[in-house]
């Protein structure tokens, strides 16, 4: 372990050091390192098969890493069996015990710890109150709703006062309305209890809205770690840019004569940026492009702007999506539908002027 690693380890609550794991010939995790701070709400985000669930199972102790170490609160837990780890996991399917009622599901872990009977009852009741499960204590877990099951699963973990709570796709089984409601509940609960949360999800919106920080994973590697703003505004590569939100990736060539100037073969216009870097591609997020109906008399500058046709319009209430074609290149523009915006009268096949600020461009 290098000197820098030791200092990272001291700062971080959970430290994953060079963990690799293969199943048969498939590499699920390839030398992954990750440091998570205390009381952080951290997300592991990636499409299915990226290794995020394997990493979660290794942290929980269900799988042994082929190599690498895991430290929790300064203690090496790599070889600690799952039942001794001071952390709990909430499964995607919840894995509530169908032969036990709600109360016994929640108190299961405390009974396994052989706590005093009165303490088991008082702590279980405390959790039932916290998660608003009153009146359901005697019900079997398949007699309650999906949202209630999710809260029982959460209560069953939290009642053990874990140092770390792992959540595997915690909202995937809920319908959309309940999901948004539960998102806020989760964040509030995490803030109230101060427990470190690690959430595994494939839903980028969920990760963005929940997390303090997140890691983007692909094919067993962590591509980028950062807070949602960093990941969205300054993605490390094209894959992340496209994975998070909608991305217009435009190929560019450095202009040899003028600093901060590029030419774009895609759009056949000049692009001016606020920073200078040798790049072949840039990212412009669709909401950072302004569009206006083109008027013949108005002249348009050839820097950071272009003319195009509207190929598609999708009105989504709070904003409208436009697909614009310019110089045979397609890109998206999102425009907020507030009362000052003049975009609402833009229709299919209209000619529009598109423009963007130089700060809107991020060089990949």
């Amino acid at each position: 372990m290098g000197r820098s690693n030791i200092s990272i380890m001291k700062d971080s609550f959970l430290y994953i050091e060079n963990v690799s794991k293969s199943f048969d010939d498939v590499k699920a995790l390839d030398n992954v390192s990750l440091a998570i701070k205390k009381s952080e709400l951290f997300s592991l985000l990636g499409s299915s098969g990226c290794g995020k669930s394997t990493l979660l199972r290794i942290i929980a102790g269900f799988e042994k890493p082929d190599s690498g170490k895991i430290f929790l609160d300064g203690e090496d837990i790599t070889d600690l069996p799952a039942y001794k780890r001071p952390l709990n996991i909430m499964f995607q399917s919840y894995a509530l015990f169908p032969h036990l009622n709600v109360f016994n599901n929640i108190s299961f872990g405390l009974k396994e710890d052989r706590l005093d009977k009165n303490e088991i009852i008082s702590r279980t009741e405390e959790m039932i109150n916290l998660l608003e499960l009153n009146g359901l204590e005697k019900r079997k877990v398949d007699e309650i709703s999906g949202g209630q099951q999710q809260r029982v699963a959460l209560a069953r973990c939290l009642v053990k006062k874990p140092k770390l709570l792992l959540l595997d796709e915690p909202l995937a089984a809920l319908d959309k309305k309940l999901r948004i409601q539960t998102q806020f509940q989760l964040v509030n609960l995490q803030y109230k209890l101060g427990i470190t949360f690690i959430i595994v999800t494939h839903d980028q919106e969920e990760a963005m809205s929940l997390s303090d920080r997140m890691a983007i994973m692909q094919e067993g590697n962590i591509l980028q770690i950062g807070n949602p703003v960093e990941i969205y505004e300054k993605p490390n590569n094209e894959y992340i840019a496209k994975f998070i939100g909608t991305a217009n990736i435009i190929s560019i060539e450095n202009n040899q004569k003028k600093k901060n100037f590029f030419t774009s073969p895609d759009l056949n216009v000049e692009i001016e940026t606020s920073i200078n870097k040798i790049s072949t591609k840039c990212l412009i997020r669709p909401e950072k492009i302004h569009i206006m109906k083109s008027t013949i008399d108005k002249k348009i500058s050839s820097v950071n702007s272009c003319k195009g046709y509207v190929k598609e319009v999708a009105y989504l209430g709070s904003y409208t999506k436009y697909l614009i074609e310019s110089n045979n290149f397609h890109f998206y523009v999102f425009q907020t539908n507030n009362f000052i915006s003049e975009n609402l009268n833009i229709k299919w096949d209209d000619v529009v002027d598109c423009s963007w600020d130089k700060e809107a461009i991020f060089l990949l």
Binding site: F62, Y83, H99
Partner: protein
């Protein structure tokens, strides 16, 4: 009525029921009838329940409950029934203890290995049951394979009498009925969600507790199905005690056989068979009703 008989679905659904009526309920009714009749020398060796007196031409009804009172008054019959119950209980328990880990292992192995293991479980059925029980005779007898090997290695000086006692019967029954325990258990365990085990471990359960508090209660339906499939036929088992058993314990199936073919007392034999069925059916029906009620509530 004719249109119903032409209906394909009708035949499709009710053919098994006709089969049951023809080959199960009618024979059972005949046995019931014989058990209530009076025994006599002749062929068949019992008086018909309804007969017409040749002299007077009156209808005579020959119904008697004496066969039943006879078998309940002689402790010999009850003892043989209890022997059969204890054989069934012991061998079911042994089958469960041996079969559960096997079923669990098969259910949790990879699909490829799993199919191979299942075939291995079923392969013995390709040989006649009678031959397989005879094979045990060859293995266990005085100059049999087991005794020869043990003597060759000097572990024993004289051949052990392994055959013709109730231990040999238990061995034969466990061997024969083990697949009937494993297969229904496997059917339940293969559907078992392994995340329950992960969840129990995560909540602090060690392996033993995980087994008794989570895996066992959740596989209870499979255990019950397996135990029923072993227990019920073993109570009436006749062939295995006949081939491997001795005179130390008499079993119910053997007694019925003797009453039928040695004593030629069909009414008493039928009464024995009927009481055996009733003794088994009543507790099973009560159990099934209460269990399905419990499941329904769940």
């Amino acid at each position: 009525m004719i249109s119903i008989l032409k209906n394909f679905k009708f035949w499709f659904v009710f053919t098994p029921y006709f089969w049951l009526v023809a080959f199960f309920f009618i024979p059972l009714a005949i046995i019931m009838k014989i058990s209530l009749s009076v025994s006599e020398w002749g062929m068949p060796p019992y008086k018909d329940i309804l007969a017409i007196d040749e002299v007077t031409g009156n209808l005579i009804i020959n119904i008697t409950s004496s066969n039943y009172t006879f078998i309940f008054s002689d402790f010999f019959y009850l003892q043989s029934y209890l022997n059969s119950l204890s054989l069934a209980f012991t061998s079911t328990l042994i089958c469960l203890i041996i079969g559960y880990p096997i079923a669990f292992y098969v259910a949790k192995s990879k699909p490829k290995t799993r199919n191979l293991l299942l075939i291995l479980l079923v392969i013995p059925f390709w040989t006649s049951f009678l031959l397989r029980v005879y094979a045990w005779k060859v293995l266990l007898q005085g100059n049999g394979i087991l005794n020869t090997i043990l003597m060759k290695f000097g572990i024993i000086a004289e051949p052990l009498s392994l055959l013709h006692n109730h231990y040999a019967v238990i061995l034969g029954v466990v061997y024969t009925y083990l697949p009937f325990m494993i297969l229904p258990l496997y059917g339940y365990l293969v559907k078992f969600d392994l995340r329950f085990i992960d969840a129990a471990h995560d909540l602090g359960s060690r392996n033993i507790n995980t087994f008794f508090k989570v895996i066992l209660p959740l596989s209870l339906p499979g255990i019950i199905a397996g135990c029923m499939l072993v227990f019920i036929p073993v109570v009436g088992e006749f062939v295995i005690p006949e081939l491997l058993g001795g005179s130390d314990k008499l079993y119910f199936g053997k007694i019925i056989w003797d009453e039928f073919f040695v004593n030629r007392d069909w009414p008493v034999a039928s009464a024995l068979a009927m009481s055996g069925i009733l003794f088994l059916i009543i507790p099973i029906v009560i159990f099934q009703i209460s269990y399905s009620r419990y499941n329904f509530k769940k």
